[in-house]
Every structure is written in structure tokens, then in C-alpha cells.
Symmetry: D2
């Protein structure tokens, strides 16, 4: 039984990780930590665990952590995480980090978008990028996995087959994405106050969202050349899910059937990516680790779409998938 | 043209009052105030007024107020309002107060439920209770109107015909009510954060909600005897509306047809109260100043139901209705 | 591995049963049937099963059923079910029936509320009522289990401790309940069309809902005397969950602490019923088989509340709980 | 007082037109018609009109229409409308038609996208396209106005300043749009059944939506050259509103400030189009006839966004705006 610690367990990704681990046949949560003011019995912090998990969320104690756990899911915020990860690794534990701190290989890009000095350049180069469908080999042997952002996961899985096969222009990819509100985290704010967000829909972070360089980095690795991506996020009045609608310019004439066949081949052996023969819907992947993708040609452009659950395939589910890989388990264990 | 000032214009009832006044043929908003940190162009505080109203929300200046306005809608919170109302009245303006500070005639009850000394016992006795369908005569000549709470409005209109006619036991009235989230105000909080409130439903304030004594006070005035009411509020994932489901013990055998006839007679000349021949729905009154009511007999009990918009008939619409009455206008002017 | 057939697999309770069985360690879905026009690959009928279950929904073939399955979850509608159950039992399979056809022991009451002759009086007396927390012993040896209605499950678990201990008047129990829209089933209709139901809230079935006699039957068995219950359902704009707010008259003076202690004792050994020290919320039980209950005293009345997921503890989860009992498994297996 | 008839009054655009007319100071609804099975007192068809409008919806009688009304809002579906409009015009009334039947000037395009022969080629050439901000002069003298589609209204107002000034490539405009569910009309269906649509989000009509040629036609008229537009609609779980996010390739280097200035100049004298200095939100225009627009430059592309209420500026509000123009009234009368 793999013993899992969750650092930063009081947020949505912490809670989702616990949900998954409670039904995992080969892993279990053993140690939950958060800031002192967010500690207490888990079932009081998240009412849905009443009777299902007796753990308490406690302030982090590195000795206790080292003793109790085999692996750490580090659910701390961007910028905070890199202050903890070195000490987590020093305990000898494997670490799966949910923040952006170990995702961007180019420190300058990180420092520009996150407006802070990177303080752990020692471990950064050794972090595997935890998107198994594209980087499985590196994950297998990693001690530190940078779990991808939710938007980059959806976008990358939508466009990977096109970029890998050099079928589209790399200079003008547009990723238009919509997330549910859980993507904004658990801290209340005016904009996500129910009476404001309900019956609302809007774009944000125009031209400047922090997931843009992450998407470009993945895309560049797949395409083996620089890819210029305009990423435009939106938020809608639902809890979970991301729908990505990607627009590309084809390099040559492409038919819709040919495209779908290419997608099916590309994801042939991937359990969690399913190529549909119609446009995907957020509801069909909500609560699961699946990514539904679809691609077609319209008006001379390629449109590809993907749907994921931002908290599962976009965060906690993918982290458990990475954990399964690191520990040599069946990659799908405990996931649905 | 009646010139209307709104004190506390940065909350939902302030905004709803402005919405109504913008289409009122005989009144207009002229002066909006709030705490300094909530001031600014109205269209920046509430995006829906862009191009529709050029006023700014400013810090309150009593001289400016006295000069610009004929009447004040005082949308301050409970306990805060009674610190301002005396000075507002001293300017010679009519005041319609949205808080609970002038609703409860028994100071001891107020002080128990609001846990604060009442600081304006001078004006309290002269405040008319602003529920026109039941207390229209007092409103006509009032300088200060205590605009009723949203729950008391819905509950009182549902049971008034029964209590007025002495048809039900006054010792065991149960008011089970459900409100939309705008009733909780504009300040963000964990419980009303979209991902928590969406897909949720719960009861709160069991046996202790501050609207309970207000409902009992109105009921007692209608029944001309003490009425014991158990009021149980709930909140559901929608923006606007209150549905009240009231359970009473009949004093004598009553038929459903007889009941409905009695309701129709009671509200015969009331424009804003409509007796349906089916159960009311929140959507049918949303955005309007109407109250839909229905009553029937089931399993030996009387069930009566009412639906209102908590921000309109439950707050700002009713305030404008009161304003129309005070100024001798057609009571329905500017209201829909 | 218990092999499970689902008859009527194209509705919400069918889909939810499949969801649960896919993560059940000792049971699996093997045969799914529906009306011919609703047949096809499961993943096309319900998009969320893409890649997760390869079964097809087929027209019912009794021979195939007998060969493939050990137990039948019969998810057919009221009145239809009793036309199939006798033949299902004749195959020798255990049957857990989701309809009302085998719940009401008094045929006359059934025939009044469902307005149809009961056509299977042979099996009716042998059906166990599948609410394990109250009738576990009968379920253990049953060949036919009548899975309770969603409302009766929530209401019965809320009031059972009171009735069992004779603490409240049996003549005036009021059950005010609110359901999410999935309770209305999968067939589209004007009233549940998204633009109508969203931002809406209303009561229905006043004094006449079919779950009323079912609640009274259970209550009578617990109390060992006739119990008169006024059941008033409402529907709100959310997918899953039922909140029941029950009002009773105490037989003697009761304190809130005493009440809660009594509830805790009553449910001491029940895994799926959790007594809270605050009012329950639908979100905390959504997706789980748990029932959260709370009780207190207010204004001389007892208020008790329960929250369940109408599709899980109110239908498919409870059916799997019953299946586990029948087959001598740990009652909680596969459930969360 | 302009007397308005509404043909097809039983749908959402009919109801919204009545809502607007009830507060219009110079027009009123006088005659409402629908298919026989949808007739009855207005307040029974739409509960929100109880007490507010005593009209009945009746089967259409052309003689009665001619006698009672000055203008017809024809809210019939595509393909049906062109069967009625000739006779409506023959009565001598002005007609504002909500369908697509008179929008597309190229009959071949209409017949391709609507898969039916156009049966009123006589009146088609004389229909003014009812988007006042772009085609006001033609509307002033029109007897027949083709009220634009909701998507084309939002898209056209977002890109008009760019196309008019020749600032972007006309070969690669992408319009990514999201509508609320009321855009799908009032007929219930599985896909818009509340439990399916709630918590869902998806794309539809990929590369083939009927509003695509309409958007291209308007764009071509503004640009004075053919414009190739990829229009991709989505639907989200809210009732009202359309957010359009448009991606274009600039013809020359453009700054964000320059762009906004250009937008402000273009819409300088337009009451209902407001240029924001931030991204627009659907909630800010819901229930109003306003269009909020914004444009900026990001990653070498121009992004322009617009928000409208699909039922108001996208349908009934715009129709009343057109009516005001035709009758020489202040264009904003009765609109908010």
C-alpha cells in the first residue's frame, strides 16, 4: 500500500486527491497538511468526507512526513511550492508537485510570467513534466514530477497529433478555452460570488495568462520547433470541466476522415484519451480522468476540441496517474 | 420628478433600486453614497449601468443630500442604519429604511435578536411598517418607513387572509422558506463561493433567524393576538426569489375552494398580489414586484404558498411602492 | 464476482447503477436492457462511459438474462415493473426492484395512488422493503427487494429515531422536502427544460404525491402505530440531492442535546447514516451513499433534517447496498 | 400609441417582446397569435404575465390583425415565416421578421443552408437588414425588416470597426461564440433537459451553423469585399447572453490603445454599443439592449469581444429598436 501525503490539503485539488485515493486499491492518504488556520478534522474542512476518512489536516512536520509517507502530492500555490519542494525531496520522498514552479524549463519565462525569482534552480532541470500521454518515459524514473496545468493538459492533448505530424502551421495556433469555476480555487472573491458568477460568462487574462508559455513549451517539444500559441481562457457558470476549442491552419489539404484516423492512431494505446466521432461535452468527462478529443476541418481550418475535468485529468487524477507510473503500478489504478 | 438619494448604493438592494428608478416616469436617482472604499462611477461598481446612468457613488455629505434629494432610500445594514436615520430625518427628507432597525416595535426583541442597544428610540415609534397591502394607511403619512424584510414580506402575504379571518391556530404556524443567494448580500464568503453553492441546498438559522420575530409581529397585528411562528429558512442555487411554504392547523373544517375564494376576496383590490389556482413558481415573479400566492387543504392542514423576488417585492420594489404611496403617486408607477 | 443485469438501463438510475458497479470489487454489470428504441452501445447512450464500459444496451431476452446474470436490478417505471418481475423471479434470479410496485403492502393504497390494478399480488407479500438501516433482517433472506423511493429514504432516516422512541405526536408530522431535477427522470419536458428550471424553484404534488403513503407505511412500522404525515415536495435548480426538513410536535419536553444523543445512539452502528452537529447540506452527500441527519428543538417543535443523493442512497447506491446484503458481502462494498 | 401584433407569441422571443412593450411609453401589444395548441390566456402560457397583461394568444386571423395593429413582430420559425410575411405585408402593416427568411440576400445560400426553396423572392430584395448600428438608413423607410440573428448581431458589432477600416485580413476571421440556452428555443429536448445541460458545456454545429453565411454577408457589406469567417458556436449552462470572442490577423502593426480609440470613434454616437476598457461579461448586458465590446492586441493577433443578451439585442430588443426607427420615434424608447 503506497502511503500518500498531501501538502496543501485544504484546497480543491487536495480534496479531489483524497477522493481518488479513498477508492484506490493500492494507495491511501496517510498525512494531510495545511496552513495552521486551515487545519482540523478533514470532515469539518470538507463535509463530504464525514464518515469516509478520519484523518486530520495538520501543520506540516517534515519528520512526521518522512516517517509516514512514501510519496508527496504537493498542492501548494505557485511561488510557494518551490520553497517546500527541496526539503520534501531531501526527505527522500517522491514528489508530485501541482504548482507551476517546476513546469517551465526556461527560468526567464517563469520569472517573467510569475514575477518572482525562481529559488530552486537545482531541482528544476530534473523535474519530469507529468503529462503521461506525451512524456511517459521521463515520468517513470522521476523523483520530482511537475504536474501540468489544467489548461495545458486539455490544449496539449487536443493538438498533439497535429503537431507531431507537422500538419499545421506552428505560427498561428489559437486555443480558446472555457473552464468551470473550481479552476479558480477555493478562496472566495467578488467575481466568483455565486450571485455574480451564476448566469455569467466572460473572458479573462487576455494575451497574458500564465498557462500560455506552458502550452507553448509542450507544443514546442511535440513539434520539435517553436510554436506560437494565442491562448484565450474564459470562465462559465459550472463547477468542473474545461472545453478547449483549438483553431489551426493546415499545412496541406486535410480531410476530416483523415484527421480523425490520425487522431485514433496517435491515441491508439492511451487508456485515458478517447477520440470521439462528435464534439465532446464537459459533462461526459466530469468526475473522470478521461480526455475526450475530436478534430475536423471547417472553412479551410482545422478545429480540434478536447474536454477534461480540470480537477481530475487537469490536476489530481493526473497526479495519481503519475504516481501509479512512478511506482510501477497499472497506470489506471484507482482512476475512473 | 421625485429626486431620490440612495445611501448604501453599493449593495444589491441599492443596485436594484437604481434599476427600478431608471424606468420610473416620475422619479429619478440623483445622489448615491457608500463607504469611501466602495465609491466610484456607478458603471464601474455595477457593470450593468454602463451607458445607462452616469452618476458616481460618493461618500455621504448631508448638506449635498439635503440640497439634491426629496427622499432617501437608506440601504445600510442592520445596526448601522439607526446611526444615520436620525440625521437623515433631520434634513427634512422622507426616509425609507431597508434595515431591520425600525421594523420591530418591541425594543427588547430587537436588542435580543440583533445583540445591540437600539440607539434611536425617538424615531422608532413613528416608523410605518412598509408592507402596503397590510399597512397602507400608516405609510401614506409617514416620514419614516421601515421597509420589511424579504422573508417577512413573503410569509405575511401568504398567511394574512388566514389570520385576518381567524381560520387557523395561532400557536403552531410553520413557515418553511427558500431564498436565492442574492439574499445573502454582495460580500463574498466561502459558503456562497460559486463552487460551493452551486449544486448545493441547505437550511440555516434553525430556530434563531432574525426574521422570525418580525414575522410574528406582523402576524400578531393581523390576527390581533399573539401568533407563534416557527420560521425555517433555506438557501438554494439560484440568484433571485423566495418561495414560502406555510403549514397551519385549521380552526374548523375548510375546503380548498372556500380557501381560494377567501384569498381572492382578501386580495381583490391589490395590484401586486395575485392568487393563483396552482402552486406558484419563483421564476414567474423574478424581476417583478408581484407576489403570487396559493392556498389549499391537504391531510387536514392548510398549506399556503407565496413567491416573491427577494430584491424587488422583498426589498427595492416594495421601497419604491412605499415611495409612490408617500408622494401620492399611483402605487404601481415604475414597477412591473 | 456477482454478475449483475440491469433492466431499464437507459434511465438515470440505470446509469448510476453502472457507475457504482464499475468500481465494485465483487460485482460487475454483465447485461443491460431497455426498450428497443433506447438500445445501442452504452457509451453512445451515456457519453460518460466511453472507454469505461463496452457493454451494449439490448432488448430484454429472458434466456440470455438467466444465463448471464446472478441478480437483476429492475429499473423499470412504476406499473411497468410488476409486468416483468414475476418472470424475472421465475428465472431464479434475485431481483431488486426500483419501482413502487412492491413497496406498498396495502394493495388498495397502491391502486388508489397509482390508479391501476396491481397485477402481481403473488410476489408482493414476499418483497422485503430495501431500507437496510431499518429492515436489514428481512433483506438478508429476500429474493425480491423493493428498493425504497428517494423521498421516503430521506424522510424515514430523518424521523426514525423519534418514532422508534415514541417522542413525537404521530398525528402531525410534516415532511417538507426539496429534490434536485434528476429525480424527475431523463425524459425531457417543458417544466424541466433548462431555461425554465434554471433560476426557478417551486412546490408540486400538494397533498397528493405518491411517496406520501410510502412514507406513512415506513413510519407506521417504526412507530408501531399509524402515523399521519403531510409530505410536501419541491424541486430546485440542481442535479442531485434531497434535503428533507421535518417538523414534529414533541410528546414531552426535549432538549437539543438530548435529541442529538438519541440520534447518535440510534445510528451508532450504521455506516451510511451520519449524525452531524449542524444542519446538513446536499453537496456533502452528492455522489455518495451517505445520509447526513441532524435534529434540534426550536420554538417548541422538533426539527429534523436529512440530506441524501437521490440517485445514490435514494436509488442505485441503496440497491447495491441491498445486493451486498443479499449476497452476504460487506454492506459497504463498492460504495462511497 | 403604436399598436403591435406578435405572430408566434408563444416562444421566448414573443414573450420577451411583450415584456419590452409592456414598459414602452409609445407602443403596446394588442394582438397575440400562435398555433391553436399554444393558444390561451397569456398569463397561463407565460406565468410571469399574471396581472400584468390580460391579452389572450389566439389563432391568427388576418382581418382582425389588419384592424387591430399598426405593425407586426413576426416571431415564426425559419422556413415558416416566408409563408406568412407576404400576406402580412398585403394587409398594409409594417413587418419586422425574426426569422432568417429575409436576411440572406443570396437565395442560393439561403436554400443551401436552410435546405428549402425560398418561396417569397418578391419581398426578399426589399427587406432591410435590421441592425441599426450598421444599416440604420435602410431601416428608416422599410416596410419589411429582417431582424438579425443573435450570433450575427454579436459578431458583427465586435468586428465592424476593424472591417470598416480595413485593418484585418478578410480571409481568416474566427468567431468563437457562446450562447445561453434560451437561444435554443422553448421546445424541450434531451440535450437541453436540465440534468443534462446543467454543469455541461459543449460546441455544436461545427463548420455548418446557419448563422455563418449571415455573419459573412454582414461582414462583406461592411468590408466592401468578401470576408471568410469561421464561426464556431458553443452552449453553456446559463439562460441568457452571447459572448463572442473574435480572432483576426492584423493587416499592419496595431497597438491596443489605437484599437480601443478606433472602436470608441466608430461607436461614438451609438447609444446601445458601449466600448469597455476591459473584457465584457454576459451578466452586465443581460436583460438590456446593450452590446458591450472590447478589443485588444495579443500575440500578434487582434482579439475583439462582444457581449449581448441573445433575447434582447439579439432578438426582441433589436426588433423594438427597429420599430422605433420605422415609426420615427427616439430609437431607445422603451428599451433599457
Amino acid at each position: 500500500m503506497i502511503r500518500v501525503a498531501i501538502i496543501g490539503a485544504s484546497g480543491y485539488t487536495g480534496a479531489e486527491s483524497i477522493e481518488i485515493l479513498l477508492r484506490h486499491p493500492a494507495a491511501k492518504p496517510v498525512y494531510l497538511t495545511a496552513l495552521p488556520e486551515e487545519c482540523g478534522p478533514l470532515a469539518e474542512v470538507f463535509g463530504q468526507f464525514k464518515g469516509r476518512c478520519d484523518l486530520h489536516i495538520e501543520p506540516l512536520d517534515f519528520n512526521k512526513l518522512a516517517e509516514l509517507a512514501d510519496v508527496v502530492l504537493c498542492c501548494l500555490p505557485h511561488k510557494v511550492s518551490m520553497g517546500f519542494v527541496p526539503r520534501l525531496l531531501d526527505t527522500g520522498l517522491k514528489v508530485i508537485d501541482f504548482s507551476a514552479d517546476y513546469r517551465l524549463k526556461d527560468v526567464a519565462v517563469y520569472e517573467k510570467f510569475y514575477e518572482v525569482k525562481h529559488t530552486d534552480k537545482r531541482n528544476l532541470p530534473h523535474a519530469a513534466f507529468g503529462l503521461p500521454e506525451l512524456f511517459r518515459e521521463q515520468i517513470k524514473t522521476a523523483k520530482l514530477v511537475a504536474n501540468p496545468g489544467c489548461y495545458p493538459t486539455g490544449a496539449a492533448l487536443a493538438i498533439a497529433p497535429l503537431l507531431k505530424n507537422g500538419l499545421v502551421e506552428t505560427k498561428s495556433v489559437i486555443v480558446n478555452a472555457v473552464t468551470g469555476v473550481s479552476g479558480a480555487g477555493r478562496n472566495p472573491s467578488s467575481v466568483f460570488h455565486f450571485p455574480n458568477m451564476n448566469e455569467n460568462f466572460f473572458a479573462y487574462g487576455i494575451g497574458s495568462h500564465r498557462h500560455m508559455p506552458e502550452i507553448e513549451q509542450i507544443a514546442g517539444q511535440i513539434a520539435n520547433t517553436d510554436v506560437n500559441i494565442l491562448f484565450q481562457p474564459h470562465v462559465g457558470p459550472f463547477n468542473r470541466g474545461i472545453l478547449s476549442t483549438v483553431y489551426c491552419e493546415p499545412q496541406r489539404e486535410l480531410g476530416s476522415d483523415e484527421l480523425l484516423k490520425l487522431y485514433r492512431n496517435f491515441y491508439h494505446s492511451e487508456h485515458f484519451v478517447r477520440v470521439l466521432d462528435r464534439a465532446p461535452a464537459v459533462k461526459d468527462v466530469a468526475g473522470t480522468n478521461y480526455c475526450h478529443v475530436y478534430a475536423t476541418v471547417a472553412k479551410g481550418k482545422v478545429i480540434c476540441l478536447s474536454a477534461i475535468d480540470n480537477l481530475v485529468k487537469g490536476a489530481s487524477g493526473q497526479a495519481i496517474q503519475n504516481m501509479n507510473i512512478i511506482f510501477g503500478l497499472d497506470e489506471t489504478l484507482g482512476l475512473k
